[in-house]
């Protein structure tokens, strides 16, 4: 019961203190809000880069051309060999007639040349998708060594380069978010130090009358938590409305239909929860760190 009373009192005092030290609270909240806006922007960007990377990765496939003398049973053997590979995900057959039809549709006036040929000069092919893009290179090499395979390729250099860039972007996103969280907690810690400095006599008296360190720290930690949560409201609203407006404006896509934006309903809930948690935790940690100085722990 005693612990509950101390907890109740801490929450009540923390709430009072937010309003009693209003100007300092506003400073803390603004500082939290600004940094959380940056965190929100980097979360939105990294979520979209992730989605784009995954989309591109899903589109990447190995084009396997079969030799012209490969018959149906031989082709089935090749398919089975590919399916046995550990990195195999799916495959689609594309006959030379399908290729011809596709080429005729896209080549326009040149299609008469293909019409004029008595025999289809193209090759039957298999489009293979792998589970992990990192296995593309090794799988392509293994397939090209199979009997009856004319060639196997996946765009090599350009794909390798693109995957490399995406990996860097993904890692940079994580580093930026972590750096921002650290900067936020440092700023909050300093702002809360100001609040605590103005209340150092209160802490001194608490210590004198025999209040335990944890009971002294508790109201300040709750205060940090409240400031963090209040500070996350504006960034949450900004990211919800900002992202929905941007999503509608671009109609869900950037650069024609190449980059599809992440659906707002999936993304925004995650971002809102993340911002509340990050704001609250960082506020609490900042207070915890700042109050330690006055407790000689």
């Amino acid at each position: 019961m005693k612990a509950i009373r101390i907890l109740n009192r801490s929450i009540r005092d923390a709430f009072k203190s937010v309003f009693r030290n209003f100007s300092l609270s506003i400073a803390s909240i603004t500082c939290i809000a600004i940094t959380l806006v940056l965190v929100a922007v980097s979360l939105v960007l990294s979520a979209n880069v992730n989605q784009f990377t995954k989309d591109i990765e899903n589109e990447l496939s190995i084009v396997v051309y079969l030799k012209s003398d490969v018959d149906e049973s031989k082709r089935t053997d090749i398919e089975n060999s590919i399916k046995d590979m550990s990195s195999y995900q799916s495959l689609v057959l594309k006959s030379k007639d399908e290729w011809k039809k596709e080429m005729q549709e896209s080549l326009g006036e040149l299609n008469t040349i293909l019409d004029d040929m008595e025999e289809n000069p193209l090759l039957d092919s298999i489009l293979v998708k792998v589970k992990n893009v990192n296995d593309l290179k090794a799988t392509t090499k293994a397939i090209s060594e199979l009997d009856g395979v004319e060639s196997a390729s996946y765009g090599k250099d350009s794909v390798d380069q693109m995957i490399g860039i995406f990996k860097i972007v993904e890692k940079a996103g994580i580093v930026i978010v972590i750096a921002l969280v650290l900067v936020t907690s440092f700023l909050i810690s300093n702002t809360i130090k100001l609040t605590i400095y103005s209340r150092r006599h209160e802490i001194e008296i608490m210590r004198l009358v025999g209040t335990s360190n944890s009971a002294i720290k508790l109201p300040f930690e709750f205060e940090g938590l409240f400031l963090g949560i209040i500070g996350s409201i504006i960034p949450i609203l900004l990211s919800i409305y900002g992202y929905i407006i941007a999503y509608d404006y671009f109609d869900g896509y950037i650069f024609s239909h190449m980059i599809q934006l992440v659906n707002p309903s999936q993304l925004l809930l995650t971002i809102a929860i993340t911002l509340v948690i990050v704001g609250g935790l960082v506020g609490m940690l900042g207070s915890w760190h700042a109050v330690r100085k006055y407790l000689k722990i």
Binding site: I6, L208, V209, G210, T211, S212, I297
Partner: protein, 233 residues
Amino acid sequence: MKLIDIKECSKVYKNGVTGLANLDLEINKGEFVFIIGQTASGKSTLIKLLYREEKPTKGKVIVGGIDVAKLRNSKIYKLRRKLGVVFQDFKLLPKLTVYENVAFGLETLGLKSNDIRPKVMKALEHVGLKDKVRSFPDQLSGGEQQRVCIARAIVNNPKLLICDEPTGNLDPDTSKEIMDVIDNINKELGTTVVMATHDKDIVNRMKKRVVTIENGIKVSDKMKGSYKVHESN
């Protein structure tokens, strides 16, 4: 019965200044003891050791059965709950009323508000401020503020009341009133009082035990003593 037992206690500060040197002192329950000495004589160091604001460099300081030297920072509250401290500069919270200032400590200890009220009113009655419960510190005179501070120090019925120059900021008449309040607490509640002061009139008038400290050394300890710092050598 001993409440305070100090043996061969020395305190040397980080800058090399000696606060106390080989001090031995025993104070029994219910005693009223003045600690006197000139500025920087070591009396404040002794007071600070008693409520563990400072730690001794060497020797033993036992207060109410607690070995102060071995007390970790995180456990200081255990000692402080057994004692009350009164300062020269009052240390009241200006935004709280008299009642709230006295109740402040009890609230942070997690006591029920039903239990807090009678304790606070009793403490305020002892210091004669029952009719000022709703006033704020800046509406009170210096003497009244010091009374609030005393009420806060005794509200939890401590065994020991430590006073560090409680009359330092007060005029002689008000000082006398404050001393009467503290003397009454000592007599009526049986609270042990240890008071550092250099107010000659008070010490000479009250005829209590007087411990004189000079340059960190105890130079005299007399049962109905008086203020004779320079003659005590």
